[in-house]
Homo-oligomer: 221 residues x 2
DNA sequence: GTCTATATTAGGATAGAC
DNA sequence: GTCTATCCTAATATAGAC
């Protein structure tokens, strides 16, 4: 399905493992650092260790390459969270899992949130791409699922007097805001808190311990 | 101070009010929509209703123009919050004021958070610009102030048994994350929650009521 | 100060040899 | 499949008239 759109593989002298993959990885690195508009095909070629013309051979245009990278990134970030939220775990477990997944993933990919945010802000059409990646080809069927599951769990907890009432949308927005924003705003936070890269890591480590209790306290009645 | 860097004002036929300002406003609009790398000088000229050459006359290069816009944006967004946090208000009042300022400001400038985030992620040098804007020319002197004021207030509240212990940095990060992220991620949220622009406005209106109580609950012991 | 016209480079894309 | 060489448009920037 992703292979079928690339040029026909001939039986010619293939140099090494997979060039297409090397290009995609290089594009991933460069697009995330520079942003899509700021990235240069030449730089991607250099990073991949191949000729510029090859990028076009495999991906036809910068735009298609950007689309491929975006899809890859979206798949990496969102579905894990969506699956947790729609699962049968308790709300407390879900919060803990989401925090764990996000802070872990993003510690390894510092540019990811900033990239995703700029890309979505400047290319409205990417949004539709997103939804199919996260929710499959028929979003209408699956989207309500996540929120309805949450709504049910919240209502039960409220009735049991264990939780204050909250819209499932706000629940999710609050949770992912607290997880993702610090990474998106990392350069700003470093400068405002007056810390370097190591200091930022300390702040995140601290967050790993305290974010879940913080969030759960906010849900108590 | 901002005027002194622009070309010398001659006494020639000045058409209308202030061309420099018109250009800056146009650049503001275009850079925020398109991102700095994606923006085109021609588009800015069109939006300002002047010739492309004039942009260079007033701002010498695209890069300098971008810098001017960035500074303007940073000034608009951060100092109000910094002042509230460093003020003599109670913690509860501060939380309420910050939420009010941010949600109000950002409802009017939807592209602002995304712009700021991409800009900072792709241009590390912008970070230093930020700090001088927010904290003045001698950041070492003022930066601790904000956090020390907060630390004192938090410690008092903790001793009084009114609040759980929390680092002032985490306090601030949590607060601005909850305020800003939903706007930065607006296209994503719209698509995931399955709402249009009006639906998004409803979500924000809801937040305006519930975010402060949510945050304060999280601080209770 | 503002315009028209033009220089100049950068960067995406293709042709064609191997 | 991969390279070299080249094309061509778009985009920043400047010169010079008014």
């Amino acid at each position: 399905m992703t292979k079928s759109k690339t040029p026909p593989k001939s039986l010619s002298p293939e140099k090494d493992g997979d060039t297409e993959q090397k290009i995609l990885d290089a594009a991933h690195a460069v697009f995330l650092r520079q942003g899509t508009a700021g990235a240069r095909m030449q730089e991607i070629a250099d990073e991949a260790g191949v000729n510029k013309a090859l990028l076009h051979y495999y991906f036809r245009s910068k735009d298609r390459l950007a689309e491929a990278v975006f899809r890859k990134v979206a798949v990496q970030l969102l579905p894990p969270v969506a699956m947790v939220l729609a699962s049968g775990m308790t709300l407390e477990e879900k919060v803990a899992r989401v925090v764990e997944i996000e802070l872990g993933e993003l510690s390894r990919s510092p540019f990811l949130p900033g990239y995703l945010i700029s890309e979505l802000n400047h290319n409205p059409e990417r949004a539709h791409q997103l939804v199919t990646v996260v929710l499959g080809e028929r979003p209408e069927n699956l989207r309500p699922k996540v929120f309805e599951v949450l709504r049910g769990q919240i209502e039960d907890a409220v009735r049991a007097g264990r939780m204050v009432a909250i819209e499932p949308e706000q629940f999710v927005i609050n949770l992912i805001s607290l997880c993702i924003f610090p990474f998106a705003a990392r350069p700003m936070i470093k400068v405002i808190a007056g810390v370097d890269e190591a200091g930022f890591a300390v702040i995140i480590a601290r967050r790993r311990e305290e974010l879940v209790p913080f969030f759960l306290r906010a849900l108590r009645p």
